[in-house]
Symmetry: C2
Subunit: 356 residues, 2 copies
Amino acid sequence: MTGLLGSMPATIYEVAQKAGVGIGTVSRVLNNSSQISPQTRARVLQVIDKLNYQPHAMAQGLARKKSLTIAALMPFFTGHFYVELLKGIQQATARHKYDLILYSIEDLHDKDFYLKRALQQRRVDGVLLVSLPLSDAYAKEFQRRKLPLVLVDTSHADFDSFTVNNQSGAHAAVQHLIRLGHKRLAMITGHRESKPAQLRYTGFRRALAEAGIKLPEGLLISSDTLSGESITLNDGFNKETGYRAMQKLLQLNGIRPTAVFVASDIQALGAMQAMQESGLRVPEDMALVGFDDIELAEYVGLTTIKQPMFQMGQRAVERLMALINDPNSPRQHRRIETELIIRDSCGAKKEIKHKH
Amino acid sequence: MTGLLGSMPATIYEVAQKAGVGIGTVSRVLNNSSQISPQTRARVLQVIDKLNYQPHAMAQGLARKKSLTIAALMPFFTGHFYVELLKGIQQATARHKYDLILYSIEDLHDKDFYLKRALQQRRVDGVLLVSLPLSDAYAKEFQRRKLPLVLVDTSHADFDSFTVNNQSGAHAAVQHLIRLGHKRLAMITGHRESKPAQLRYTGFRRALAEAGIKLPEGLLISSDTLSGESITLNDGFNKETGYRAMQKLLQLNGIRPTAVFVASDIQALGAMQAMQESGLRVPEDMALVGFDDIELAEYVGLTTIKQPMFQMGQRAVERLMALINDPNSPRQHRRIETELIIRDSCGAKKEIKHKH
DNA sequence: AGCCGCTTTGGAAGCCCTTCCATTTAGGAA
DNA sequence: TTCCTAAATGGAAGGGCTTCCAAAGCGGCT
């Protein structure tokens, strides 16, 4: 009995010998080459089946100068966002019969090390760079060697990228609040240097401008204007900044806003906590809309902007495959549109109930 | 200018030539072979550095019959549990200078396909099988060929495994409730066929027995004894089963328990909802302890049992590396101990307050 | 000078494929 | 039958490494 895998996996030579053909012929069968007579093909396939033969990927890779492998470099932080993204990436990769090597970048210094490793040692056929900046030196390398690269949740003028449309997402969120009748709006956001924070702010301003609403002094609160322990972390999107920002808003007694757009759900949770501690209710005393659609958002009934990460992962891989097949394919910068998820915190549901 | 990666990556031949040595010597330097004179080594290293040379992993793999790659097969379901596990796996893999190929198994039928692919095509040096059953046919293959395999969150007599100690976790949860003075306890759990559900039940019984407490009729509710839409899904751990189970408990008016051990957090959330709808408070009217420590648990203040998945992922990889280095190393079955996370739902915190 | 035994080095063979070129074979046309 | 063309096939070369064996270098001995 040969066993499922063969005691020592068979090689193309054994297949050729048992089938009474040359190795070239076996290779041609394996690669669906055109010039093979149906009988020979059948005979070879039969032997392949009997020996349970599968080609050795490394030998194939060496000969073909292709690895049928792509690498994804991503920071492994938070939950939902990356899990969904990874799911999408993994699924699409498998569908194309490619394998995925995953590199988790915990320190930005490691990035170039792993890039080099993926490219030069592993000879991956393409790279997915997620949420990480592309250094100029590597940008040049990728271009010079025409290596397929797709950026996800980050961007660079010279390479394909998929990013969430932060601006239109924020715009939709704010527009929603305005339609619900709010005229006095505030915004809580992350650090001013954070790109997503900037874009979400732009969307906010645009929605206000379109409705002819002005943003009074003090109704925009960025994380870096606050003080506290976890304030300086990352992009400023965390619970504490949300909490402190809301406290600050609540101190502006006279001109308290009736609705707040919070640029991240996690901050929105902090904000809700601050309101609760002041005895205020959401949305009655103040309506809230967040951004991200984290897992908790559903639980607490937070209206928010959902980013379709699964789909984004899939599409990024599709694009990468296209680039692998045609490295000269023109650049594409895709903005993935977000979705407004209406729950309780914006007050829309109550309003509907009133009307009936 | 050579560029970061070399216009076409250098080979060992170029290095040898520029350094004025033979390829064997370069190879020896690369692999830290002993018999090399310091001067030669220095010269070769210098050229390697200048050419930015890195060995071609596929050529190395082919020659060495080793890939410096491991594969992880896992179902990609839920959040926290797998994300943490994957983080641990990824980190430990990188520390050993191995690369990780990730296979997501969405359909059990795919499992053997990907196993075969990993083993026979990719020639990975070891496999991590997560939360998936090992079929007998493959078990034999792994044994015969002495292929390093480590099971995570699943087990098989003949292979190394890392599992959460469900029983002692449940025991700790229930013991905690008993220490808080509860004498009338109930349990809500998943399907009776689910292995974790069974083990958690055993832990529950053991804690009761040790305290001399009997479990009255009707105070154990398994998902498969309920009716409803999502009831039959997977292992029975979902919100709806928790909700229905609690409803059922609440109908037993006379003998309502004072505390409930819920075998999964997600069910505990459903149970809390049912209580809330009946106007009951947690923990005043009924204390609750869950299992899993999902993200929401912290938010709602659910006392629960935390499974240290990150650590488990790391340890599984460590073990796999040990097996790669010594395939005859004796089997080990490790049970990872859980941690009791005390929050509000068990009433312990209030009790402490009372005392002061 | 000649010899011995290390240490150090060079490079052929081998790992398992793909691909290309040469060769064989079959089928038609003359 | 003979010759020509196209289809089918065999297998050498090559891809970049490791490893092993043979050979060279070296220092100290006699």
